[in-house]
């Protein structure tokens, strides 16, 4: 390094200190900066970075020309492709609908019994119905309709109202105790006005109904006849048409042990099945009704 010149004037030298070291590994000189031992090489700016910047900027400019991109005033540049994501979404839905057109539409118009009889159609539709059930119903009724505390089992032969597809369509559409004007009602009133001792006696009686050991001639039996039989039937076998479950079979919604029955008697029950009208199409509702009917059938001996 020529020492005759002022080192601060040399190219690449630090204008403050004049330092200009050569890195032995790379052969480059350093910038002359020194931050507590850290130095920097005076490497030329790599060309590839410039090209990468140009390339990525080119991509962006093309995207800005083709797609909606820059806002101005109260509007924005629409782009040559005139893309609109709302239109695209609607088109996407339409295309998907079209793929189901040849079989799905039949469920919107035809009679459930006829549909059920068409084996080929059902073979196409049932896998779709299962996914529909898993996505919309399984959260409460369990995958495969196995139910849970407070949510009826669908894969059995015990039904409130009816397991006829026509009825299921209505239940799906209007719901039970839902906010739909045509909803089904199924309410167990609260017997909180009763003496606790009476409720306890009734509860013991209801538990006994399940194994057939209940004595209808007892005081509790009289209480049952007076207060419960109008809905649940004189023998406790249920009033399916009004949504009152049978108390003599093994099927339960909330439970038929003493503690649960006491809870039911004191506070009543009014479980809600939401109305699916508007959330699912008519065709999907019919499809689900047939699927659920089939779940129930498959579970019967």
């Amino acid at each position: 390094m020529p020492e005759t010149t002022d080192p601060k004037q040399l190219p690449g030298a630090d204008p403050h200190t004049g330092n200009r070291l050569i890195d032995p590994v790379s052969g480059y000189d350093t910038t002359g900066h020194d931050w507590g031992g850290i130095t920097e090489l005076n490497t030329a700016f790599p060309k590839i970075v410039i090209w990468a910047l140009v390339l990525s900027f080119g991509y962006s400019v093309i995207a800005w020309i083709l797609l909606p991109a820059w806002p101005y005033g109260g509007d924005y540049t629409r782009g040559l492709l005139k893309r609109d994501q709302q239109v695209q979404a609607a088109e996407g839905f339409r295309d998907l609908e079209a793929g189901r057109q040849d079989w799905m539409t039949r469920f919107a118009s035809e009679d459930p019994a006829e549909l059920q009889a068409d084996a080929a159609l059902m073979q196409t539709a049932l896998p779709a119905a299962r996914r529909l059930f898993d996505d919309n119903c399984a959260a409460c009724h369990g995958a495969g309709g196995t139910g849970g505390p407070g949510f009826p089992v669908l894969a059995d032969e015990t039904w409130l109202w009816s397991s006829a597809p026509e009825t299921l369509v209505e239940i799906l559409r209007y719901g039970i105790n839902s906010d739909h004007p045509d909803t089904f009602y199924g309410e167990m009133p609260a017997f909180d006005w009763m003496e606790r001792s009476e409720r306890a006696a009734l509860s013991t009686f209801v538990v006994a109904l399940q194994d057939g050991s209940a004595d209808f001639d007892s005081d509790a039996g009289a209480l049952f006849t007076e207060n419960c039989a109008s809905c649940h039937g004189d023998d406790g076998a249920g009033g399916l048409e009004v949504g009152a479950p049978a108390l003599t079979d093994a099927a339960v919604i909330y439970g038929q042990d003493h503690a649960t029955v006491m809870e039911t008697l004191r506070h009543g029950r009014a479980g809600v099945m939401p109305s699916w009208e508007g959330r699912l199409s008519d065709a999907e509702i019919t499809l689900l009704a047939l699927y659920v009917a089939q779940l129930s059938e498959a579970a019967q001996p």
């Binding site: 403050h16 890195d23 590994v25 790379s26 350093t30 910038t31 900066h33 020194d34 931050w35 507590g36 031992g37 850290i38 130095t39 920097e40 090489l41 005076n42 490497t43 030329a44 700016f45 790599p46 970075v49 990468a52 910047l53 990525s56 900027f57 991509y59 962006s60 995207a63 800005w64 797609l67 909606p68 991109a69 820059w70 806002p71 924005y76 540049t77 782009g79 893309r83 609109d84 994501q85 979404a89 998907l96 609908e97 079209a98 793929g99 189901r100 057109q101 079989w103 799905m104 196409t124 539709a125 896998p127 779709a128 299962r130 996914r131 059930f133 898993d134 996505d135 399984a138 995958a143």
Partner: protein, 541 residues
């Protein structure tokens, strides 16, 4: 802590500690019960604890006369300890929530252990607790060394660190009690946010004042990154958290933003939290510790300057890529997408600059696990920035959005890049600040390195698979035009990946625990202090 404070500074510190206790008392008294009252009590406890600690030292001898001819390393040491404590809390809760996703039925029947409350404890514990403390601690070190000047005063670094940790503690305890403003990575309520603003402004002022005393006329690039981190985080934090408290005595508030504007502000914040909290500050760390540890000059000065301005300029635009295919206008999505793509160039330039810096020191990368941490960090930085730009492209995002791919991407950044560079920095700093040549157990560093790399790879690969599987299952239609899978089936398909990610996370946590032990042992076996000295003219006492 008080050993380097003059009597006058101790008196001011005592007054401030009492003030904090009074503030806590006012909070607790106004709120009477609930989260805010608990947070008031926490402030009282911290204030009183500090008051007793400082009060007891008022009669102690004055600090050594030469204290101003040394660097102020006490706050850095404390910050590293807090970093490691938060690492174990944050990563521990991370493994816990990962396990809950695999064994959801194992959730205990108490509200505070529910997934929704634990998850922000993990994110805040890691981003703010672990990342934030590491950034503040290393920024004090880097700032002093590259300026060759002692911190501008001895009190404010402590206020910044203690105040910041109080914010973190308020935030995570608040979440456990159900207090949240429901903005991702900004869940803490209004009074904690206001507190952080005060602390953060103090931090920035301290930084600028110290920088003003530097000896080298140029500002080292690491300091540019740290300053960008401090300044932009303040801006993001304030704008995103603008809210109207329900009452001054209640921990609830209404954000002033609504609808899609709220979403846009949130993700402008959210992505720039990644950019300026989890990237810019850590690039500052990389730009300092990598050349120091490898003993090599930064490969290209010019490239580091261009990358800095590129990163700072492009990042601020890209938040809208979190809102592709939503109610956000298409044009905002296009801008977010294109700027994300352009951002890749300065990001890769930084990663390339770091890796090229290692030319001539590859034998050290082979032999030194600490340097290897930094090398792996630079590689993962490059990988995850590529992935980020890729996922920001709209059609790609339609597959990846809402899937675990996003979670995998974040963790390749946080585990592979952020945590690796932090550990590299810690393993460089702890021996130096303890006046030692090496950590107590270099073998443990080696173990930590391999546990961390294995854990990261297992985690990230599992979630790549998980995310792509989810994305493909959600969009699959059968030949009859019906969905091929229900959502439930896509959840069930996640089981093996969620188990693997729990294992990967546990490996990473194990490494962090080893690191904490090793650092504690090294600090206890200290043989003095850092030997380097500032050159700056010192202020008169």
């Amino acid at each position: 802590m008080t050993g380097t404070l003059t009597l006058r500074e101790r008196q001011v510190a005592l007054a401030l500690a009492v003030l904090l206790a009074v503030l806590g008392l006012v909070m607790a008294g106004a709120a009477r019960q609930g989260v805010m009252a608990l947070h008031g009590v926490m402030a009282i406890a911290l204030g009183l604890g500090l008051a007793f600690r400082i009060g007891g030292t008022l009669d102690d001898p004055a600090p050594p006369r030469d204290r101003l001819t040394r660097y102020d390393d006490g706050p850095t040491r404390f910050g590293i300890i807090m970093t490691l404590i938060w690492a174990i809390i944050g990563m521990g809760v991370g493994v816990w929530v990962a396990a809950l996703l695999y064994w959801p039925e194992a959730t205990p029947l108490v509200p505070w252990t529910s997934f929704g409350r634990l998850r922000p404890v993990h994110t805040t514990g890691i981003i703010f607790g672990f990342g934030g403390n590491a950034l503040i601690a290393t920024s004090f070190h880097v700032l002093q060394r590259t300026s060759r000047a002692r911190l501008a005063d001895s009190l404010s670094p402590w206020i910044v660190l203690l105040g910041f940790n109080l914010f973190c503690a308020w935030a995570v305890t608040g979440y456990l009690l159900g207090s949240t403003q429901s903005k991702e990575y900004a869940e803490a309520e209004w009074y904690a946010d206001l507190w952080l603003v005060v602390i953060w402004v103090l931090y920035f002022v301290l930084y600028i004042r110290t920088l003003a005393r530097r000896i080298e006329p140029h500002i080292y690039v690491a300091n540019w990154y740290y300053m960008a981190f401090i300044l932009v985080v303040a801006m993001l934090h304030i704008v995103n958290n603008l809210a109207m408290p329900v009452r001054w005595s209640a921990p609830e508030s209404f954000p002033i933003w609504a609808g899609v504007q709220d979403a846009m502000v949130q993700w402008w914040y959210g992505h720039n939290a990644v950019a300026f909290f989890l990237t810019a500050g850590f690039l500052g760390m990389l730009y300092y510790f990598l050349p120091v540890r490898s003993g090599r000059p930064i490969w290209s000065y010019r490239l580091s300057i261009v990358s800095f301005w590129g990163i700072v300029f492009f990042y601020i635009w890209v938040g809208s890529h979190h809102l592709h295919y939503t109610a956000l206008p298409f044009w905002a999505q296009t801008l977010g997408m294109t700027f994300s793509v352009m951002l890749l160039v300065p990001s890769w330039a930084s990663a390339g600059n770091a890796i090229a810096t290692l030319n001539g020191a590859w034998h050290k990368v082979r032999d030194d696990a600490t340097l290897r941490f930094m090398f792996v960090a630079a590689v993962f930085y490059g990988l995850s920035t590529f992935e980020g730009s890729f996922l920001a492209i709209r059609p790609v995002n339609s597959l990846s959005h809402y899937t675990d791919w996003t979670v995998g991407h974040v963790h390749s950044g946080t585990l592979g890049w952020v945590a690796m560079i932090v550990f590299g920095a810690i393993y460089t700093l702890v021996p130096q600040l303890s006046g030692r040549e090496h950590m107590v157990s270099p073998r443990a560093v080696e173990w930590h390195f391999w546990l961390a790399v294995t854990g990261t790879l297992v985690y990230v690969v599992a979630l790549w698979n998980a995310g792509i599987t989810q994305g493909l299952m959600w969009r699959a239609y059968d030949e009859n035009g019906a969905l091929s899978y229900s959502f439930l089936e896509s959840v069930q398909a996640m089981a093996p990946y969620y188990l693997l990610r729990t294992i990967g996370g546990a490996l990473f946590l194990t490494g962090a625990v080893i690191c904490a032990w090793n650092c504690r042992a090294t600090m206890r076996a200290a043989q003095g202090e850092a030997t380097d000295r500032p050159l700056a003219v010192q202020p008169a006492e």
